[in-house]
């Protein structure tokens, strides 16, 4: 099981995957937006999205869990 964490404080601009989706390592899961900069958050390992912890428009802090992949 892998906890995918935000690496920057900002807003969730786009959620690219759905709960239950299979993702490959390096695949974009969500895109965070802050101060005019978009940062994609990629899966660190292949697996299934067990839980999505955020929705579009949510505010996340650096280190917050975005999704759980297993």
């Amino acid at each position: 099981m892998q906890e995918l964490k935000a690496n920057m404080t900002g807003n969730v601009w786009k959620v690219i995957v759905n709960q239950g989706d299979k993702v490959e390592e390096g695949q974009e899961v969500v895109i965070l937006e802050s101060m005019k900069m978009e940062i994609p958050i990629e899966a660190e390992a292949s697996g299934n999205i067990k839980e999505l912890k955020v929705g579009e428009g949510d505010f996340v802090n650096d280190g917050d869990v975005i999704a759980i992949i297993e």
Binding site: T9, M35, K36
Partner: protein
């Protein structure tokens, strides 16, 4: 006569403009979004108006709302600052239709210079050297690849409507061009609503050097010398200085007179800047900014001219109070931009500033947007302040800067101060070898070790 100005901006530049207005006994009106209600600039103005939610489209880019506030407050003029609506021809026009002075050039000039392809062609006709590249927009990927054969790689692929470093990419081969073309097209359509792109030869080992101009409504144009702004990250400036120690006196004179000539040809009025790329032998037109620039203070420091005051006087239809010979450059000034961001990854770092202490001193100028217990919101640009120093020469200016940065204390969020210190301590920076690839070549490799 202008008796009351609405400042259509936020943060440090709103505070900067309000300060000069106060000195000139002009009343000021600040506008703010819900995210900026506790910003120091809001309290500096005589009147302030909440104009909407944090989202820029509903606040700082909301032309109708800003104009209705301007009418309600009965202002004579609007100062747009930089960014937001400052280079929006439609806004300039709308102000004037309402009988409000827009502090800036005509909407025609703004629109021409805002279109990079049009600007390039106008400047070429005005006798300004341009970078070898395509004459107009490229029609397709195939067209781009064909034209690239004549220009030779490496090539810059640029969006005609681009700005702020968005919509441009360097490519080294047909394959890279093909890939970049698609992604750049999507990006520029989304950001600027216009996907036109053109190609320019990538100038290697270039310095970014720009000329500050002032032009009144009677055809008088002067330049206030150059600024060297080569230290950049993500194509945005971090350190700016004046004068440039890279160019010779002869090149300085040539760049100044060509910039003045170009301003005359296009009928420019107000304060503006022509940006150039400069290598060992040549200088080339990059773009023209038809507004006040972030880094204008270094020019003010070496010439003693208050550029905001000059903008207001020009808008009042006054003639320039000086001619070219009367503008003297003295000493050396450096500005650094303080960004709320991680100094290694350059990722934004918004949040609560628990404590802030600014360095003070005779040769130190602070332009800031923050105070103790101020929350830096994630909605706007990461720049939270500028530190400007002046010395009798570059060496002294850098030494004052180093001392000031050591005393600059911001707690609670990450800032790029460690990055700036690392750069100004670098021997290559100190020797003035500040090419635009400095951060990739001499900063990132050092800190990643």
């Amino acid at each position: 006569m202008i008796n009351k100005i609405l400042v259509a901006n936020r943060g440090e530049i709103a505070a900067r403009i309000i300060r000069t207005c106060k000195m000139l006994d002009i009343k000021t009106v600040a506008i703010y979004s819900e995210a900026d209600k506790d910003s120091p600039y809001v309290k500096m103005a005589e009147e302030s108006f909440l104009i909407g939610p944090p989202n820029v489209n509903e606040s700082y880019l909301n032309i109708n709302k800003i104009l209705s506030v301007a009418k309600e407050a009965k202002v004579d003029a609007i100062h747009p600052g930089y960014g937001f609506l400052s280079e929006n021809g439609k806004f300039a026009d709308s102000c004037r239709k309402e009988g409000i002075i827009f502090i800036g050039p005509s909407s025609k000039v703004i629109e021409k210079m805002g279109d990079k392809i049009v600007a390039r062609s106008i400047m070429k006709d005005a006798g300004v050297p341009v970078i070898p590249g395509t004459e107009g927009a490229v029609a397709s990927v195939e067209d781009a690849i064909n034209l690239a054969k004549e220009i030779n790689y490496p090539i810059m692929l640029k969006a005609s409507a681009g700005g702020g470093g968005i919509g441009m990419e360097v490519v080294h081969s047909d394959e890279e061009l093909e890939k970049a073309f698609e992604s750049n097209l999507k990006k520029s359509q989304r950001f600027f609503g216009d996907g036109s792109m053109f190609l320019e030869k990538k100038i290697e080992n270039a310095h970014h050097i720009e000329i500050q101009l002032l032009a009144d409504n009677f055809g008088n144009v002067v330049h206030l010398y150059e600024r060297e702004c080569s230290i950049q990250r993500r194509n945005q400036k971090v350190i700016e200085e004046a004068p440039s120690i890279f160019i010779s006196e002869e090149t300085r004179k040539k760049m100044g007179s060509i910039a003045v000539q170009a301003a005359k040809v296009i009928g420019y009025t107000g304060a503006g800047t022509i940006e150039f790329l400069v290598d060992e032998e040549n200088f080339y037109f990059l773009e023209m900014n038809t507004r006040l620039q972030v880094e204008h203070p270094v020019t003010e420091e070496i010439t003693g001219v208050d550029i905001v005051e000059a903008q207001i006087k020009i808008a009042e239809n006054k003639t320039l109070p000086f001619n070219q010979d009367e503008i003297v450059s003295e000493g050396h000034s450096v500005e650094v931009r303080i960004y709320a961001e991680d100094p290694v990854r350059f990722f934004p770092s918004p949040g609560l500033i628990t404590k802030v202490e600014f360095p003070e001193g005779e040769s130190i100028r602070n332009e800031t947007a923050i105070t103790n217990n101020y929350t830096v919101s994630p909605y706007y640009d990461p720049m939270i302040g500028k530190l400007i120093v002046k010395g009798s020469d570059r060496k002294q200016a850098i030494s004052i800067l180093k001392d000031a940065l050591m005393r600059y204390n911001i707690e609670g969020i990450k800032t790029n101060i460690p990055m700036i210190l690392e750069i100004i301590n670098n021997e290559i920076f100190q020797a003035g070898q500040t090419t635009t690839d400095f951060v990739e070549k001499h900063y990132l490799p050092v800190i990643k070790k």
